[in-house]
Amino acid sequence: MASIRWEHITKDFGTVVAVKDLNLECKDGEFLCLLGPSGCGKTTTLRMTAGLEKPTSGTIYFDEKPINHLSPRERNIAMVFENYALYPHMKVYDNIAYPLRLAKVSKDEIDRKVRRVASLLEIDELLDRFPRQISGGQKQRVGIARALVREPAAFVMDEPLSHLDANLRAYMRAELKRLQKDLGITTVFVTHDQLEAMTMADRVAVMNLGVLQQYGTPLELYGQPANVFVAKFIGEPPMNLIPCEAQEIDGTMHLVREGMDVILSDAWRQKVILQATSNQLLLGARPQHMLIHREGEVQLNGSRNILPGVVYITEPLGTEWLVRVRVGQELVHILSREAHSFELDERVYLEVPAERMFLFDAKTEKRIG
């Protein structure tokens, strides 16, 4: 068991800065996800944690002890690789037993542990096979078994689910989460899939271009995204962001753009005045939270946040409908539970409930609020 802390971690490869001044913590027994697009520095961070890369500057602590100088084998970390990295010339049994053999565990003990972890992951039947004789999902479980068998201080996992098909991925998500909770082993998990991060992690660190964007629980990231990047990255379909301009008219603040005039409450007005660096803002609303009205269904009295638009296309998703609406130049996505039969190019009114609205500074891309 261990807690892990990254303090002012920077890593550059020549001229490319992979990770920039990262400060982060993973508490003992916690499941931390490093989330971001490819090239965001999440895998580099993971590899530095495992000892496969050295930070250019900064310190990594395990249980408050700096470990920069320790080689991978001195760290007592188990890693699951994106491509599984099983030993192709060894049978599944020997793959799992390998870390124990290196640790000079007795033969009986090895056998007991390998069989226990194999039955835990339901791969008992495969112990006699070579990695090339088993499927991708099975390989992945062997990879996890090899990591698990050592009872390490921490797990680091590099996109272990990314090569599995959709069904298996959903299944393994739940399995991994349950396993982590049962064992209580500190886990750092790298993924580019926001759904994986949201569903599995206790805390998520969103990274982009080597910089930590936000660190918090999945619900914090969803409910209070720190900036435009996090707002767009978390949630599916991504948050709608509509550029607009803040204007003071007769002591009230309006968000104005072509065909749109949203009156802000006094509380919002105060926040905008205090936090915005210019009058260029982005109005944010999640597709799940927006309402869609037909012409005549809504009173345009200015008391609600209404955006007029025209229907671009509707897509039935089974339980919901995804409606794409053109608002000026922007395509806005709305998820609606009601069955709609909109005509193409039909005029509609979109409502953003005031309590579900986000505002971002268009220049700094930081959230206002």
């Binding site: 495992a50 496969l52 080689s71 030993y87 290196l102």
Partner: protein
């Protein structure tokens, strides 16, 4: 269609048999000559089967013409070359494959040594060797043969090491293996087909080598490739029987090795193409 198919098959077989006769005939001639008595391998027209089989030629070749010592000399040189070439070439290949040591061009630069005909540096070698006092020693021949072999080892083994995913070595590191342990447990087993093929070639190159063996040796070291042209009856007539007997003896180990390791060699030479 059927008849045409049968005809094509027949033609193919005929062609293969022709090629086989062409390649195997010298070997067959070697075998029968080795076992023919003295008067028979000299007769004209030649016989295609010994009238009676004898081991006289082996005695003549091995004992009277000092073939046994020659084979021992060749063995020492070939083994030494094999050890030095593999010992130096393998780590170099690993380093170039894994850490891009020397940049992109080093491996090719090393290989280009092989483009040079061995006759080119041999005079320089002769002068250097006599100056250093290492002329006519095993060490010298091992040294120069290794110089020719190492580029080959590096070039082939480099591509084998490159085929091993680095993440396997990283996984072993994280699992707690030391570098030496990783090499022993993973790198060498995974490169085994290449290792076997390259080892065999290294040995064969040195075993068959003639030029250096002739020019860089004196009275002490007499590799078999050097003594064969001097095996005569009297002063001029080659003793074909003894030459054939010796020839048969020196190709046997190579043929057996190659036969035994065939599957590795085929896999070794076609590795990148066939792997999953």
């Amino acid at each position: 269609m059927l008849t045409r198919g049968r005809f094509t098959t027949l033609l193919a077989y005929a062609w293969v048999i022709l090629i086989l006769i062409w390649t195997i005939f010298p070997l067959y001639w070697l075998v029968i000559t080795a076992f023919k008595p003295l008067d028979e391998f000299m007769t004209y027209p030649p016989t295609f089967w010994p009238s009676h089989w004898t081991l006289d030629n082996f005695v003549e070749g091995l004992v009277r013409q000092q073939g046994a010592k020659a084979i021992r000399d060749s063995l020492v040189i070939a083994m030494g070359t094999f050890i030095v070439s593999m010992g130096l070439g393998m780590p170099a290949a690993y380093s170039i494959a894994r850490y891009k040591t020397g940049g992109m061009d080093l491996a090719f630069t090393v290989l280009s040594i092989r483009f040079m005909p061995p006759i080119v540096p041999v005079v320089a070698f002769f002068l250097i060797a006599t100056k250093l006092g290492i002329f006519d020693t095993y060490g010298l021949l091992i040294l120069v043969n290794s110089m020719v072999n190492i580029p080959f080892v590096i070039w082939i083994m480099k591509s084998f090491f490159e085929e091993i995913p680095y993440s396997i070595e990283e996984a072993a590191q994280v699992d707690g293996a030391s570098w030496l342990r990783i090499v022993k447990d993973h790198v060498l087993p995974l490169a085994a087909p290449g290792l076997v093929a390259v080892s065999l070639f290294c040995f064969i190159f040195a075993w068959n080598e003639l030029l250096f063996a002739t020019i860089l040796t004196g009275r002490h070291i007499q590799p078999f490739t050097k003594i064969v042209p001097g095996i005569n009856i009297g002063h001029v007539e080659p003793h074909w029987g003894a030459i054939a007997a010796l020839g048969l003896l020196v190709i046997m180990p190579i043929v057996l090795l190659a036969f035994y390791m065939q599957k590795y060699i085929v896999r070794g030479l076609s590795y990148g193409a066939l792997r999953e």
